[in-house]
């Protein structure tokens, strides 16, 4: 059966060139970069080249890149690290209601310890309000953490403006750029970002590897204590193959960024146009301008999300509710809630993300099948237009 993957935001396949860059590090080049002999030393110098490639993608110095086990670890490190480092200054953190759980649950964890967290509202398209942000700042504020682009509705925040506000008030600014990386031009220095989370598996790299950019001069304690790896700031034997894969993915992303954005955007727009013209009563969530190029989030009114996904899966089409982790979750998306959607619309919403391997044919097939599925499910839906 035809397989059409429209969930590139969840994870991406590893590109051929990326896998090739990784392979030697499992076998011939398996050395530990902390070792003193040949294969260890060459691993060490490869590591430094890899760091430079990731740095180039985000416009920073290679010494500002610290590899982690993924976006989640980077988020935890930035937030918990800042909380510990700035304890003497204050205990107040500002974030938004639409952050990824890696950020939100970390904040909740700190709240239990007595930290105070302001979760900024967003408007109906998912943007935070800069005045709200500035008003939320107190003399106890130690961190502003606002995600670069949202994983469910794709909304891209005014990062530069946030950076300016943070700087004006002398507050550290962290951004979760896991979804933005490779999909939006990012110059961390120019944007005034102090710390930034990244993950390889969203940009055609492997899962289980990511990085935290920490601007030179920003000092936070380690999250993982132990060996002297990562300039003594992140212990643990380096995931060399993962790092080389991440670096290759970053290199490809950097080289093809404009092209990638253009082609992905036009595919996504084609999908949105087709599906909304062929199915009635669909809402588009989020903003159509400041949006991740591959993302579209649709409410199929009167149709329940899981049922829709499974009918789609039966036709080989993969997408997601954008929040539910398979069968285990019944919490309505906190992101769509923050955008102000009523519950039944939240339960009817699906995130589609196109990626580098998506074709126009894929989209035609998907639209055709989804039209039939929605018709069928609506025929026995308990909710109706009337």
């Amino acid at each position: 059966m035809r397989q059409v993957y429209l969930d590139y935001s969840a994870t991406t396949p590893v590109k051929k060139e990326v896998l090739e860059a990784m392979l030697p590090y499992f076998t011939e080049k398996f050395g530990n970069p902390s070792s003193l002999y040949g294969i260890g030393l060459s691993a060490k110098s490869d590591l430094s080249e890899a760091r430079a490639k990731v740095a180039k993608l985000i416009g920073t110095d290679e010494r500002e890149i610290y590899f982690t086990s993924g976006g989640t670890e980077a988020d935890n490190w930035a937030v918990i690290g800042t909380a510990r480092a700035k304890k003497a200054k204050g205990n107040h953190i500002i974030t938004s209601k639409i952050e990824h759980h890696a950020l939100l649950h970390t904040c909740e964890y700190l709240e239990k310890e007595g930290y105070e967290v302001t979760y900024l509202d967003v408007d109906s398209k998912g943007f935070i309000n800069l005045t709200d942000l500035e008003n939320a700042i107190t003399d106890k504020t130690i961190l502003i953490s606002i995600m670069f682009a949202n994983n469910e509705v794709g909304t891209i925040q005014p990062i530069k403006e946030i950076g300016e506000i943070a700087k004006k008030h002398g507050i550290l600014f962290h951004t979760d750029a896991v979804q933005a990386l490779g999909n939006v031009p990012i110059h961390a220095h120019e944007l005034g970002i102090d710390m930034m989370s990244m993950s390889a598996h969203k940009i055609y790299g492997p899962k289980g590897i990511g990085a935290l950019y920490i601007r030179k001069g920003v000092v936070i304690p380690n999250l993982l204590n132990g060996g002297a790896q990562e300039n003594k700031r992140r212990a643990g034997t380096e995931n060399m193959a993962g790092i080389m894969g991440f670096a290759k993915a970053a290199e490809l992303a950097e080289a093809n960024l404009d092209e990638h954005i253009e082609s992905i955007t036009s595919l996504r727009n084609y999908f949105a146009k087709e599906i909304t013209s062929k199915i009635e009563d669909i809402d588009i969530n989020g903003d159509m301008e400041k949006r991740l190029p591959g993302n579209i989030n649709l409410t199929f009114n009167y149709v329940e999300g899981e049922a829709l996904l499974l009918y789609m899966d039966a036709k080989g089409i993969a997408a997601s509710t954008g929040s539910a982790c398979s069968s285990a979750s019944f919490t309505p998306s906190h992101v769509l809630r923050a955008l102000g959607l009523p519950l039944e619309k939240i339960y009817s919403s699906i995130r589609f993300t196109v990626g580098d391997f998506t074709t126009k044919d894929d989209i035609d097939y998907a639209v055709e099948e989804i039209v039939k599925i929605v018709e069928k499910l609506r025929s026995f839906s308990a909710f109706n237009k009337e």
Partner: protein
């Protein structure tokens, strides 16, 4: 995640859709997941002669409604009231743990429909003795997103 039988009932549900002039209608919404089920019945001599469901619910809910409506047809109201979500699950050959509650949706919608009929016709049914149309059940879970 669902077994074949569930998938079969889910992809090709029996008795799905609208019923004209039903004798009884029951609605039940799940407090766990916000989903909603409606069961319509045709009843002759206290026997369920036809059943239809409409749902805004997941795969498990649709499959449960499909077997539930199959199973209650031909049964007396009292017999139908004896069926619980356990029976639907057995008939389906099992449901994944977090999806058990969806079968309760079908059970409760059936009860609500029969209750509706009993109310309209002043029937006292043994199986409705402890039935509380406002009863809830609890569940707690947490999402993850990718």
């Amino acid at each position: 995640m669902y077994n074949e039988k569930v998938m079969e009932h889910f992809m090709n549900p029996h008795n799905a859709g609208e019923m004209e002039n039903p004798d009884a209608v029951g609605n039940y919404g799940s407090p766990v997941c916000g989903d909603m089920m409606e069961i319509s019945l045709k009843i002759e001599n206290n026997v369920i002669v036809d059943a239809k469901f409409k749902t805004f619910g997941c795969g498990s809910a649709i499959a449960s409604s499909s077997v539930a409506t199959d199973m209650i047809m031909g049964k007396t109201l009292e017999e139908a009231l004896e069926l619980t979500n356990k029976n639907f699950i057995d008939e389906l050959g099992g449901l994944p743990g977090p999806k058990i509650h969806c079968s309760v949706l079908a059970e409760q919608a059936v009860r609500h429909a029969i209750y509706d009929y009993a109310q309209k016709h002043g029937l006292e049914l043994e199986g409705l003795k402890d039935f509380d149309p406002n009863k809830d059940f609890d569940h707690d879970d947490e999402g993850c997103e990718v």
